[in-house]
């Protein structure tokens, strides 16, 4: 029971990180139909920023702000340099472009920082934990879960209460009519990338708080998890991304905790298999719209 509870908290914490990554991916997909594989590199950017700022003795609060800012700036540069020209391109072209951008960024990190892991000097409180009824709970996990909840709440508020938030939602639904409301198209794209970059930055903070090193390829694994979460949840929908993130985490932790050691090396395969089985029954994801013939024939 106690072990199960412990693993439950593990899954919640892991799910929070996945959900944040998935949200960042889903925002760009819902508005631009862009499956941004370079999302992981935004996280890596934040990671290297954390490394550099903390290594040069910055206060951790400043470092955190710098990391998120770096990832937002990187997102904006990507929008301007790579994606703006491709606004009307086929989704497949967008997907391949983002794949290539991801590879290019990894190589640039390699050139700049080298391949050796760079240690991030995390403040000591990150490791703190407390006991409750014989169970050891990490403050970090509590923080991750609470902050993620706050971000989801804040994001919901932002998307419901601010004009730009409403416009982002309506653009995902009907881009033309959103422009008819006098909303600037460029502002929308920039807004979407800023949000996506911010989410990548925050997810990176949590990620690098658990992995205390950053390497050029750091972002790949969380990006992939974010994508799986999005796809099984239903691509293009923000709530689905969050649910997908937690679902994936519970799947992972559940199979890891419950399966016998013999299956444990197959964990990645098992998770993907379940994802594919879900897609078999719901090709649009669990909460995806059923793919019907286009309305306007």
């Amino acid at each position: 029971m106690q072990l199960a509870l412990q693993q439950f908290i593990n899954a919640l914490s892991l799910g929070s990180i996945y959900a944040l990554v998935a949200l960042g991916v889903a925002i760009l997909f819902s508005i631009l139909r862009l499956a941004n594989f370079a999302h992981g590199e935004l996280m890596t950017t934040a990671g290297f920023t954390l490394y550099m700022t903390l290594a040069s003795g910055w206060n951790w609060v400043l470092a955190v702000i710098a990391a998120i800012a770096a990832s937002v700036v990187a997102a904006l540069i990507l929008e301007r340099v790579a994606y703006r020209r491709l606004r009307n391109a086929q989704p497949l072209t967008l997907l391949m472009t983002s794949f290539a951008v991801s590879v290019a960024l990894q190589s640039i990190f390699l050139l700049t920082f080298g391949a050796r892991p760079k240690g991030i000097e995390l403040p000591a409180f990150v490791d703190a934990s407390f006991r409750i009824g014989g169970m050891r709970v990490q403050w970090l996990d509590i923080a991750i879960i609470l902050i993620t909840a706050a971000i989801v709440f804040g994001l919901t508020l932002f998307l419901r209460k601010t004009v730009i938030g409403l416009a982002l939602r309506s653009a995902a639904d009907d881009f033309q009519t959103t422009r008819l409301m006098g909303v600037k198209a460029n502002a929308l794209f920039v807004g979407a990338f800023v949000l996506s970059g911010m989410l990548a930055g925050i997810a990176a903070l949590f990620y690098f708080a658990t992995v205390p090193n950053v390497v050029p390829s750091s972002g790949f694994e969380p990006m992939l998890k974010g994508f799986i979460a999005c796809v099984i949840g239903g691509l293009g929908s923000l709530p689905a991304a969050i649910v997908g993130g937690f679902l994936l985490a519970f799947l992972e932790v559940g199979s890891d905790a419950l399966l016998s050691d013999n299956f444990s090396p197959y964990l990645d395969a098992i998770v993907f298999l379940i994802a594919i089985v879900i897609l078999r029954w719901r090709p649009g994801g669990i909460f995806g719209v059923r793919l019907t013939a286009e309305q306007r024939v």
């Binding site: 391949m96 290539a100 990645d268 298999l273 994802a275 897609l279």
Partner: protein
Amino acid sequence: MNMLAGKWWKQSLVGSALLLAIVLVIVAIVALAGSTTDMRILMVFLINVIAAISLQTYAGNSGNISFGHVGFMAFGAYGSALFTADPAIKAIGIPNAPAFIREAAIGFLPAMLIGTAVAVVVAAAIGRVFVRLSGAAAAVATLGFMVIIYTLLSNAEELTRGSKAFSGIPEYTTLGWCVALLALTIVVARLLRDSNTGLGLRACADDPIAGQAAGVDILNSRYVMWVASAAGAAIAGALYAHYIGAILPKAFHFELTFVLVTMVIVGGRSITGAVAGAALITILAEVLRRLENGFSIGSINLSEAPGLTTAVLALLIVATLTIRPQGLVSRWEVEELLHRWQFRQKEHASVRAEENHV
């Protein structure tokens, strides 16, 4: 005479012959003028072309990308390698494998057929799931397939030595084999592409509603292409294994996937496109790599910028996709390109003639 008139399969054969002739010219030039290293690059290129054409048979016809085809290459590679490797080496390397594998020492062709058959059976068994997906869901699901195969192979210590290299594979892959199998691949891929199934599927990639209204069965057509392309990938995998002599699961992972998918996307949506993309990517990668090596000895430290090659290659791909999203040759095959070029020449000529009159 109009090259594109007559029975469709005649055009396929003419086109295949033309494409093959171009590849043969490249082969001849490298064989006559190239170094031993150039020959190796050529062989790898030929194997990659077979893999790229196979991937194209699915991706180019269906408009759906697959990140999973290296999994089928792995089936071809391991399937063929297991049955041909020296039993003495297998006795040490995989002592617990079933005897019919451990003791087998069959020829290249039957072994390749076994590898291909395994890939086809797997593709046929799982294909129905993948053909229903498109876009990002298809990308993630096929990526998942690749990870699953990779994980299974990495763990199959008893059978394949797991993540460790499986060696002692006879080096059967010669230039002759490569060219012969490439010829076969081109012809089959062309016939499939131009067949009713391929034609209908390509139409649906352009507009699924209109395609179905013209009677096309999308899912079954995709399924046929999926299975056929798995077979082609397996053949490429077998050639790979018997060229390199030692294989490991890591060889069939993200890196190779990225290379093949890039070749196909950069090339365009045809068999000719796959060949053109493979040629372009191979040449670019080689030029960049040699530039790096060439400068590594002197005082210029280009070699100290090792990520540069990959970065430049990736940025070139981004540039290609931005400038020419439809790929180098778009949707055309080589004989169609020729025909269209002639056609345009004629049009220009007539315009010029008219201008002269005035």
